[in-house]
C-alpha cells in the first residue's frame, strides 16, 4: 500500500496550540511521525536578561497559562538559593498550597480535553465545571484566576484568613467526592476503556531512554516525582504517595492523574490544617550576588527546571527554562509510530487529524515521488470513491 504523508498543523481547527506534525501513514497505520515546534517561540530567555529580578517573577509566570505558578516558584527558588535566603515556613506552605491547587486544576483540564478527544464531551463539561471551583479559590486567595502574582523572592505576597481556610476545606470536600466519581467513571465507562486501553503504549525502557517526565513517566511504571525525589518548598513534610501505573497506555495516564487528584486533596487539607504561624516573607536585596543555582519543581505536566546565573547586578546573566512539554514531545513522536490514525488525538491529547476540516491537504506519494494538492471538495469525492471501492474488496 502506498505511503502518504499528511501535515497536521500548525494552524488547524482541531489543534489547541500551534505545532506541526508530519505523519506518514500506510492505510490507517502511522509509520513515521515528525514534530516541528517553535511556532510560538517568544524569545523569553533573551528578555529575562534585560529585566530585573522583580519584573522577571511576572514574566516567568507568563511562560505558561496553565502551570504559571510552578514557573514563578522555580524562578523565586533559584534566586533564593543564590541569595542564601530561606522563606518563612508559613510562606513555604502557602506556596506549596498554590502549587497543589494548580495541579488539581491542570489535571481536571486534561481530563476534560481527553474526554473531548475520545468523544465523551459530558466528561469535558463535568470536569471543567469542577475546575471552576479551584479557579474561584485562586481568585479568592490571590485576586487572579490564571496569573496569580502571588509568589515573590523570599516568600509569598498575601496571607490567608481563617474564613478562606474554611472555604478551602469546603471545596476540598467537594473535590474529593467528585474525584471519586471520576475514578469510577474512568475505571468502568466503556467509552473510556475502549478508546484508551492499549493505546499509546510507551514501555518503561523507552520512557527512560527518551527522558519522559511527569505523569507520562509514571504511567510507564517509573516511580519518579520531583516532589518526592528532590523535595522543595514544604513537600518534605507532607504525606503523599507517588502514583504509578503498569498499564503503560493512555488509560494508565488517566488513572495516574485521577489518583494524583486524591493525593492533592489530601495534601491541601493537611497544609491548611497544619499551617504554621508567623511571617509569610522575608525582605531580600534587589541586587543578587554572582552565583548560579538550579531549581526543579514538579509541574502538573512533569519536571520543570530553571537554571539561573547572576552577575551581581539587579538583572540575571542567564535564565534557562525547560518546561515539561519539550521533554515529552520526543516520546509522543515515538509513540505515534505504529499507532492508528484515529488514536493520534489521544496520544497527542489535543490533536485531532480532522481531515474534513482542513482547507486542503498535500498528498505525497513516496513511491512515485509525485505530489498534488487537493481542495476539500476533491478530497471528499476521492474519499467517497475510495470507500465505494472498499465495500467490494
Amino acid at each position: 500500500m502506498a505511503r502518504v504523508t499528511i501535515p497536521i498543523g500548525p494552524q488547524h481547527p482541531a489543534l489547541k496550540e500551534p505545532e506541526r506534525f508530519m505523519v506518514t501513514v500506510e492505510g490507517e497505520t502511522i509509520v513515521d511521525a515528525d514534530v516541528r515546534i517553535g511556532h510560538i517561540h517568544r524569545g523569553l530567555e533573551k528578555l529575562f536578561e534585560q529585566r530585573t529580578y522583580l519584573q522577571n517573577i511576572h514574566i516567568t509566570e507568563r511562560i505558561c497559562g496553565i502551570c504559571s505558578f510552578t514557573h514563578s516558584t522555580n524562578f523565586c527558588q533559584a534566586t533564593e538559593y543564590i541569595l542564601g535566603v530561606e522563606p518563612p515556613r508559613r510562606g513555604l506552605y502557602l506556596r506549596t498550597l498554590m502549587n497543589e491547587f494548580e495541579r488539581i486544576h491542570s489535571h481536571l483540564l486534561w481530563l476534560g480535553v481527553a474526554g473531548h478527544e475520545m468523544g465523551f464531551d459530558t466528561l469535558l463539561m463535568w470536569s471543567w465545571d469542577d475546575r471552576e471551583r479551584i479557579l474561584d479559590l485562586f481568585e479568592d486567595i490571590t485576586g487572579n484566576r490564571v496569573t496569580h502574582a502571588f509568589n515573590t523572592i523570599g516568600g509569598v505576597r498575601r496571607d490567608i484568613t481563617d474564613a478562606q481556610i474554611q472555604r478551602i476545606l469546603h471545596t476540598m470536600d467537594i473535590m474529593e467526592e467528585r474525584t471519586k466519581a471520576y475514578i469510577q467513571v474512568g475505571l468502568n465507562e466503556q467509552t473510556i476503556l475502549k478508546r484508551t486501553q492499549g493505546v499509546g503504549i510507551l514501555t518503561t525502557a523507552d520512557a527512560k531512554r527518551l527522558c519522559a517526565v511527569g505523569p507520562r513517566l509514571r504511567a510507564s511504571n517509573v516511580k519518579y516525582d520531583v516532589r518526592k525525589n528532590d523535595p522543595y518548598a514544604a513537600y518534605g513534610e507532607l504525606p503523599f504517595e507517588v502514583i504509578t501505573s503498569d498499564t503503560l497506555d493512555v488509560h494508565g495516564q488517566l488513572v495516574v492523574r485521577a489518583l494524583e487528584l486524591l493525593e492533592c486533596v489530601k495534601m491541601c487539607r493537611y497544609m491548611v490544617q497544619n499551617l504554621p504561624a508567623g511571617e509569610i516573607r522575608v525582605k531580600v536585596p534587589r541586587k543578587v550576588p554572582p552565583g548560579e543555582a538550579i531549581s526543579r519543581t514538579e509541574a502538573p505536566r512533569g519536571e520543570d527546571i530553571h537554571y539561573l546565573r547572576s552577575n551581581g547586578t539587579d538583572k540575571p546573566e542567564r535564565l534557562k527554562v525547560r518546561a515539561p512539554t519539550l521533554a515529552n514531545i520526543l516520546n509522543v513522536a515515538h509513540t505515534l509510530k505504529g499507532a492508528n490514525i484515529a488514536d493520534i488525538p489521544l496520544i497527542v491529547a489535543g490533536i485531532d487529524p480532522c481531515m474534513g476540516c482542513m482547507d486542503r491537504v498535500l498528498i505525497l506519494d513516496r513511491d512515485k515521488e509525485s505530489c498534488k494538492v487537493m481542495s476539500a471538495e476533491q478530497l471528499r469525492e476521492y474519499s467517497i470513491e475510495w470507500y465505494r471501492k472498499e465495500a467490494y474488496r
Binding site: 515546534i37 517553535g38 517561540h41 524569545g43 530567555e45 533573551k46 538559593y81 527512560k208 531512554r209 527518551l210 527522558c211 525525589n229 528532590d230 543555582a293 538550579i294 526543579r296 519536571e303 527546571i305 537554571y307 546565573r309 546573566e317 542567564r318 534557562k320 525547560r322 519539550l326 521533554a327 514531545i329 520526543l330
Partner: protein, 151 residues
Amino acid sequence: MTDEFVTGIAARLQGLAQNIVRVKPQRVFAEVPREKLLDVVKILKDEYDGYHVTVITAIDSGEKFEILYHIVAGAELFTLKVFLPRKDPTVDTLTGILPGAILYEREIHEIMGIRVKNHPDMRNLLLPDSWGEKGHPLRKDWVDPRTKGVK
C-alpha cells in the same frame, strides 16, 4: 562541602573531571574537558543510573561558551560544565549514549551557535526555517537585524 559520595565519584572520574563539588543537597557540579565528555557521560549512565538528561544550558560568557549538561543520576542532579573557545565552539553529541538529548542539542545549535558533531538531525527547533544567516540570538553580541540602521 564534601562527602563520601563526592569523594567516591571524584576518585572514579580521576583524570576525566575536575572541581567536583556539591553546592547544596542533590546538586553536584563538575568541570569536564570536551574531549572527555562522552567518557564521563558513559560512566554516569552505566555506573550511576544517569539515564535522564534534564536539559542542556548554553551560556555566552564573553571569551568562551559554557555548556552545562544537567543529568539526573540516581538521587543526584549532576551538572557537567564544558568550556568551549569562542573561535571553535564544537562539542560531541550525546545522542549516541543518551538519545533524549537530541532536542536540546538542536536548541543550543541554533540559539547559541554551538556546533554539535555527529548529530543525526540538525534542523532548526525553535527558530523559523527561513531564519538563514541572521545569527544566534542568545549570544550577548547579537544584534536584532530588524533594528540595524534605526536611530
